[in-house]
């Protein structure tokens, strides 16, 4: 820290990211509430533990190699060059990956990315409840949370990413890099995993499996909305000078930027966050005929659809784009369910995957020709760049690896719990132990009454 201004900027930035991390914790609380609310009583404990234990597993693996991948892979490697030099400072044995008074940003920046990793894994978690083995899910959680999403972030969510340079890929608040990939990944597992017992009738038509507690589901989604504010703020650089950006911007006016270091403002994303939430909620209420689960999910789908361009859209554009994405996601969910017998227990593939995919393509049209980066020589934003990017996120880095790994797991008999256990409930063993303990305590206390 050279001058007082440098010191103030550094400390402000450090605190800014730290606050976003605390906010984003609410996303995980929300996902846990949501999943447990959606599951049936005999599966609660396993459902909760499945989502909770991804926290430590993704955290330690993101420390060991996930963070390094982000800094190492912007060139592919092998597409625009090799491993980036910046990766060396982000290995787990680097001094700046520990207590270090010369670097006050890496820790909080790492943590902000880590919370995105939890979210990616948690999105997948909800769709596979009540029949996946916890051990299989946790391997998938590490793969999506500490490998595949962070590869896509290096490629398309990094100021030097090859997708940004060559395709003009623009995805400021992660329609693709978090949501489309997580939705695609969930679909890749679901195709192999199969539906919950009883989900489809003998004639192949789907049954609704209602949540055991709709209040928990909706409260969970409300918490996800709240945490989403932290997510949005964490996608920005809060204050930076043109000199520090080092691109084409002239003059001395400081600005907030998106992850590509292109100017935007917190005010812009606040407008657009609220208007896209509203567009999603309004359309979801109508299309689902007032179903609370889908109305809340639609608010989320609306934000996710508009997120790719919410640094640049007009608020009314954000609202309308959100409405279109939400309508498509709802319709696609039921069409895919009927046509392909896919049992996505919480609609995660639709809300995150389809809405994210559609949002990327819409951004390509609405932001067509705009600069994707403040640096010279980058492609501008285009529909084809966004379409290729959406396919990479949803298909190449989402669906495909999940499908292959799930096939291997299925072949080894480690993907799905046995039919008997699914019917008696994943918590059967724990519930039996619990009941035995309750019975024993009751009997002992009653004996004392006499």
């Amino acid at each position: 820290m050279g001058s007082n201004l440098d010191a103030l900027t550094t400390v402000f930035t450090e605190f800014y990211y730290w606050v976003t991390v605390v906010f984003m914790f609410l996303i995980h609380v929300g996902f846990c509430l949501y999943e447990v609310g959606a599951s049936r009583r005999r599966n609660h404990l396993h459902t909760l533990m499945k989502n909770t234990m991804l926290i430590p597993l993704v955290t330690v693996t993101f420390y060991f190699f996930g963070w390094w991948i982000y800094w190492a892979f912007p060139n592919g490697p092998g597409i625009l060059g090799g491993i980036e030099d910046a990766a060396a400072a982000n290995t787990p044995w680097s001094q700046t990956m520990g207590t270090h008074l010369g670097d006050r940003i890496t820790g909080v920046f790492w943590a902000a990315f880590l919370l995105f990793s939890w979210t990616a894994a948690s999105i997948v978690s909800g769709s596979v409840i009540e029949r996946i083995r916890s051990g299989a899910f946790w391997i998938h959680a590490v793969l999506i949370g500490s490998v595949f999403w962070i590869i896509d972030a290096a490629w398309g969510w990094h100021a030097g990413g090859w997708m940004v340079k060559l395709l003009g890929y623009h995805d400021a608040y992660a329609s693709g890099v978090i949501h489309a990939i997580a939705g695609g990944y969930a679909l890749g597992i679901l195709v192999v995993l199969g539906p919950r017992l009883g989900k489809f009738r003998e004639d192949g038509t789907p049954r609704d499996i209602p949540p055991h507690n709709p209040w928990m589901v909706t409260l969970g989604l409300f918490m996800i909305y709240t945490g989403f504010w932290g997510f949005y703020a964490a996608c920005n650089v809060p204050a930076i000078s043109p000199e520090a950006i080092g691109g084409q911007i002239t003059g001395e006016t400081w600005t907030a930027t998106n992850i590509y270091l292109a100017p935007t403002s917190l005010s812009a994303i606040t407008f657009n966050f609220l208007m896209s939430l509203s567009g999603g909620l309004m359309v979801a209420y109508i299309v689902s005929k007032g179903d609370p689960f889908w109305t809340y999910s639609g608010g989320l789908a609306g934000i996710i659809t508009a997120s790719a361009g919410n640094d640049l859209y007009h608020p009314i554009q954000a609202m309308l784009i959100a409405g279109v994405g939400t309508w498509c996601a709802y319709k696609l969910h039921y069409w895919v369910e009927r046509k392909f017998k896919i049992d996505d227990a919480v609609g995660a593939v639709a809300v995150h995957g389809y809405a994210g995919f559609i949002g990327l393509i819409i951004a390509g049209f609405v932001l067509w020709g705009q600069p994707s980066s403040p640096y010279e020589g980058y492609a501008t934003i285009s529909p084809w760049g966004q379409l290729i990017g959406a396919c990479i996120m949803f298909g190449l880095l989402g669906f495909l690896p999940a499908y292959i790994v799930s096939k291997i797991m299925s072949g080894m008999g480690m993907l799905r719990i046995p039919r008997k256990v699914e019917l008696e409930g994943l918590d059967f063993d724990e519930n039996s132990t619990y009941q035995a303990a309750v019975d024993e305590v009751r009997a002992a206390e009653k004996a004392l009454v006499a």
């Binding site: 691109g247 003059g251 100017p263 567009g279 859209y313 009314i316 554009q317 932001l367 010279e376 501008t380």
Partner: protein, 72 residues
């Protein structure tokens, strides 16, 4: 061609104002937005009327209503 008139960030930010796409079409966007809002009320009221009509036809004896009252 660019939807907000900018094809690069080679600018001084003190000279830049709005950066959203389709500047100049704000009034049209507001009209479309208003239509979206009004349309929502129209569709919602129609759906609610249909729901109320279904509920009026159901439970002619009032048994389910008494159960609902008991459940509080």
């Amino acid at each position: 061609m660019s939807t907000n008139g900018m094809t690069s960030w080679a600018v001084d930010l003190k000279d830049i104002g709005a950066i959203y796409p389709f500047q100049g079409a704000e009034v049209l966007m507001v009209l479309v937005g208003l239509a979206f809002w009004i349309g929502w009320h129209v569709i919602q009221l129609r759906q609610e009327n249909e729901e109320v009509a279904r509920e009026m036809k159901a439970d002619a004896e009032g048994d389910e209503a008494r159960d609902a009252i008991d459940r509080y």
